[in-house]
Amino acid sequence: MAGTAVLGRLTWQVATVGAVSGETASVRTITLSVPDWAGHAAGQHLDVRLTAEDGYSAERSYSIASAPGEPLAITVERLDDGEVSPYLTEELRAGDEIEIRGPIGGYFVWTGDDAVTPLLLVAGGSGVVPFRSILRHRHNLGSEVPVRLLYSARSLPDVIYRQELEHAGEGVAVTYTLTRQHPPDWTGHTGRVGPALLSATAWPASDGPLAYVCGPTPFVEPVAGGLVSLGYPAHRVRTERYGGTEGS
């Protein structure tokens, strides 16, 4: 049924690369122009498909980095053994075309409809990408939902969107922990997100918060478990795991 448009079906579309900007040494944000983009919700993804000349193709899913209504953008971390990310981060230039489909996903999404529930966002490495969309969406809505973002990165130069997060707006508290290296004068947290840091940073369960946890699988499991131990009902902890580095 190739080429048949069926309502609700996902179709591959050609996106034109607008700009590629560096976030860190290994992370790029890529803006994409798609003629028939349906619009997306904060936290959704899109799939990218690269096809080699011999017909071999590889697909990967990337979180959308821009807020609903903003020009479409993804943020991609280069994985040295990756099939897709080295091309996206090293080779792609403005004007190039890639195949994408989306938006995809409905679970790891924040719509902003609920204007009171405090949000806890916990990011490991490039797991911060969907949170940029959520924070921008909150800002664009003029929402006053209180947000705490706990962001685990290898080192300060590995922090993605650092400038932007410093100006995330009133009602957004950002806490970093650096797991591998930290500046000599660093007064913030170091080491992985453990029970003590989680307990100190997370909203008390009695506030009825909604938690989103995104990062590599080995990061997400203990954080999600830790939140449940703090009294968060499991269904109030939404998780999203991705593969690749254990870079957090």
Binding site: G8, L10, S61, R101, G106, Y107, F108, P216, T217, G243
Partner: protein, 89 residues
């Protein structure tokens, strides 16, 4: 083979949102999947997903039984749902 816990290469159902929509024609990460082996139920997004097997293997987060296997062959998806007792969009 059963896995006691998801290893580092495991993803979750969010990662196959596109594939699920391709197979079912609608958003499925919020659909509630009930395991035919242990009876645990939860959103498809929270299942354990291995994408590097020959095909995509979806396992139960509670008992790690196989819920679903999708293998693509000649641009067709072959879908095995025998591990699911129910799937409610």
């Amino acid at each position: 083979m059963r896995h006691a816990a998801p290893d580092g290469s495991a993803l979750d159902g969010n990662a196959i949102a596109g594939l699920l929509r391709e197979v079912f024609g609608t958003e499925m990460t919020q659909a509630v999947a009930r395991c035919a082996t242990c009876g645990a139920a939860g959103p498809m997004a929270e299942t354990v997903v291995y994408g590097r097997a020959p095909g995509t293997v979806v396992r139960c987060r509670s008992c790690s039984a196989v819920l679903m296997v999708v293998v693509r062959h000649r641009q067709q998806n072959c879908v095995d749902l025998l591990g699911l007792a129910a799937l409610e969009p």
